[in-house]
Symmetry: C2
Subunit: 136 residues, 2 copies
């Protein structure tokens, strides 16, 4: 495969409202999208635009959220994952599988409404990596 653009950096936070205030008032973000729930992933999500990519703020939704453990270990939040775009999710999945990389669960619909999957950080230089099909 050919490395695609960095779509977003996932940043976990204990509070999306507090993080919105931080990115707006301290970092100077001018486009911050409406937060929304992704109950099937157990997170609340809010995208913040930078000039060349997005920050995806993620907050635990419910006590059994998959990021609850991350927030317990990092109460202030922190960098959670990187998301790269690919033109074809099925082909990308087959290529990562062919390289012996562990894929976390099935391909599913992500926060941008296109198919995504996650790769195990232990196979990815310690970086939890999301692969998403570029929105059409």
């Amino acid at each position: 495969m050919k490395l695609g653009r960095l779509n977003h950096i996932g940043v976990a936070t204990p509070s999306i409202p507090d993080s919105i205030a931080f990115w707006r008032d301290v970092m100077g973000a001018t486009t911050i999208h409406e937060p929304f729930d992704m109950p099937e992933q157990g997170v609340k999500v809010c995208f913040v635009d930078t000039p060349n990519c997005q920050i995806e703020l993620i907050e635990p939704l419910g006590a059994d959220s998959p990021i609850a453990g991350f927030i317990a270990k990092n109460p202030a939040g922190g960098q959670h994952h990187l998301c790269f775009e690919v033109p074809d999710i099925t082909q990308a999945r087959a290529e990562f599988e062919g390289e012996g990389m562990r894929i976390l669960g099935p391909t599913r619909i992500g926060a941008h409404g296109t198919p995504i999957f996650f790769l195990h950080p232990r196979d990815m230089g310690g970086v939890l990596t999301e692969i998403m099909e570029t929105p059409k």
Copy 2:
């Protein structure tokens, strides 16, 4: 201030040669720059281009490297910092200081040859944040 472009994501690694092989062979990076030492920062550095930003691979240079502790805690490596561009480093520093953010050390010359400083992750939502003046 106004949020500038994401210049790079700092990714710590125990081995730049191994990470270069990973980004080339698994992730499909086509432009990987020559690694170089930054002895004054205690790191070896290698930039990997994505279509819209860079990955900055950083490996400890010497036992007292400032990232030696990070690698001890994360032996496979992992996400280390985010770097955003500003047009004027002096003004940006004054604005962050005005917001009460802790700045880690003096403004110095970074891996791209322009002035940079780092902000304390505890003030930045858990994200170690580098601010760099955009290369002219």
